[in-house]
């Protein structure tokens, strides 16, 4: 059960009742428990990690590594050595492209992406493509906006696919991809799989071992954590064989003028002083989500989503992009309203305290596929209420009247 009354008290930004925050797929709100954990680091044991030996430095190291352990357990990884802290999912994907990709991709190889990808899972591969001359195939979508599995199967049959890099859940269409099946299919032809879980980890139970993905990237700020911290999970064997990403302090074992040797996992990939408070904050976010229970969060969001889909469909001139039912679908809903540009709609809603995203959502290929310049997107999280959905609908109706 989600105890809305008490949950909303954890989010000071909601206190005034003025905001209907429906943009959590963009960034989620931050509960007190997370900011307090970060405050505690800065106010009580502000020291660098993995270096000094005085007590507060030891505590800082312990809390930072505790956060890693919390994240390991949260996504079901085998070992903390498989979890690398990054700035965000974008950096995690770039890390894989620049290290694993540089070593393993070349002419004649195929990298498989999809039309629904966020730019963060397109651009790093395009940048590497310039050097490494591999080809990129974009898997198309079905009429409903789901991944076209027959297209994926066909391209895998080519025998040239080295990597399948897909989002676990679309940030625009809300669809949840059948990742377990995708991993099986890819592994059958010897391809590795990278999943961008930024829209999945905050909203549903994720078990990377059950999924079987080789790489799994996600960001902290969409799951009640702070900005500037993200995670790359990768299978240990892969990480061991990968060259380092950034060079500097902490990622080395020895440095001599003639050359250097690398530190153990995961430190080999964590050069320089890390976002210590960010990692600790993300650890607190994991505690928070686990206390609510991801299954409860998912169930409550599905209820709200059903209501939102139902009410949005009743608005005249409103068209939803993506599936109209809640099956294998998350609570991000993109739509267009006839005769009103998404930016105008979002501005009018904003004037009424209703926060939604308007634009291309960092998914220009998908906008082109949908044949729209932009969409309006509302997205829900566990702290949202039915009343907030009503405020959204009222705002949309007012915009329609204004533009009629």
């Amino acid at each position: 059960m989600i105890d809305l009354h008490n949950i909303r008290k954890d989010f000071p930004i909601l206190e005034s009742g003025q905001l209907a925050y429906l943009d959590s797929s963009n960034t989620s709100l931050t509960p007190l428990q997370v900011t307090q954990a970060m405050d505690a680091y800065y106010h009580q044991y502000n020291a660098n990690i993995h270096r000094a030996v005085y007590p507060i430095a030891e505590r800082a190291t312990e809390e930072y590594e505790n956060a890693r352990e919390k994240l390991r357990a949260f996504i079901g990884a085998e070992s903390v050595q498989e979890l690398v802290f990054t700035r965000n999912a974008t950096e995690a994907i770039n890390l894989v492209a620049r290290t694993w990709g540089t070593k393993n991709l070349g002419e004649g190889d195929l990298v498989v992406l999809s039309i629904m990808e966020h730019h963060s899972n397109i651009v790093p591969w395009q940048m590497l493509q310039v050097e490494k001359k591999f080809q990129i195939h974009f898997v198309s979508l079905t009429e409903e906006g789901r991944l076209d599995m027959s297209d994926l199967k066909k391209v895998l049959e080519s025998g040239r696919v080295k990597l399948v890099a897909l989002s676990h859940k679309s940030n625009v269409l809300g669809v949840e991809n059948p990742v377990q099946t995708i991993v099986q299919l890819a592994h059958e032809v010897g391809a590795k799989v990278l999943l961008d879980g930024s829209q999945a980890v905050p909203h549903l139970p994720v078990d990377v071992r059950e999924i079987g993905s080789d790489f799994y990237a996600f960001t902290g700020h969409k799951m009640c954590g702070p900005t500037g911290i993200g995670v790359l999970y990768a299978k240990r064997k892969l990480l061991e064989a990968m060259p380092p990403f950034l060079g500097g302090g902490e990622m080395i074992r020895t440095v001599e003028t003639s050359g250097s040797t690398w530190n153990d996992l995961p430190y080999k990939f964590e050069a320089g002083t890390q976002n210590i408070a960010g990692a600790i904050g993300l650890g607190a976010a994991v505690d928070y989500l686990q206390r609510l229970d991801m299954k409860n969060i998912q169930k409550y969001e599905q209820q709200l989503l059903q209501l939102a889909l139902q009410k949005l469909q009743q608005v005249k001139g409103l068209r939803i992009f993506g599936p109209l039912d809640t099956k294998e679908r998350g609570a991000a809903v993109s739509f267009e309203l006839k005769g009103i540009h998404p930016h105008d709609l979002a501005t009018i809603l904003g004037e009424r305290g209703v926060c939604v995203r308007a634009g291309h959502h960092c998914a220009m290929p998908l906008m082109k596929h949908l044949q729209v310049p932009a969409t309006t997107r509302m997205s829900l999280y566990f702290y949202n209420t039915e009343e907030e959905i009503d405020r959204l609908i009222r705002g949309i109706e007012e915009a329609r009247r204004l533009f009629s």
């Binding site: 105008d344 501005t347 308007a358 634009g359 291309h360 310049p373 204004l402 533009f403």
Partner: protein, 128 residues
């Protein structure tokens, strides 16, 4: 009700001024804001460094489309120098609304299209 969606803005959005294209255009330019997908294309007919006629077509939010409508009226009959001298704050005054920095970009897309079109025209002249 709304601070920026005044009747005149919405009216211009629905009934744009100088809409369409000029077959005999001296120059044409498409300005695009990748951030929101707004686009404005202007066709200018120029004689003796003066804008004789102008048409615009675009796709975007009410602010960007209302702004280019008003601008096309403003620049007709003006010299190229006079148009180049139009400053962003004059466009905001024309619209008569207060805009946040993000929405200001929408309002200034039309001015950018006009300035770029004139720049392109001058470059073409030079290279001839």
């Amino acid at each position: 009700m709304s601070n920026i969606y005044l009747d005149n803005i919405i009216d211009l959005y629905k009934n744009p001024l100088n809409a369409g294209q000029l077959d005999q255009a001296s120059v044409s330019y498409r300005a695009y804001n990748p951030l929101c997908g707004d686009e404005v294309t202007v066709d200018l007919l120029i004689e003796d460094d003066t804008i004789i006629d102008v048409r615009q077509r675009g796709n975007g939010c009410a602010i960007s489309q209302a702004s280019i409508s008003l601008l096309t009226e403003e620049v007709k009959g003006k010299s190229l120098d006079e148009v180049m001298a139009i400053r962003p704050n004059e466009v905001v005054e024309m619209l008569g609304i207060e805009l946040s920095p993000v929405r200001l970009k929408c309002a200034l897309l039309g001015l950018e299209a006009l300035h770029q079109a004139i720049g392109k025209y001058m470059n073409n002249l030079k290279s001839q």
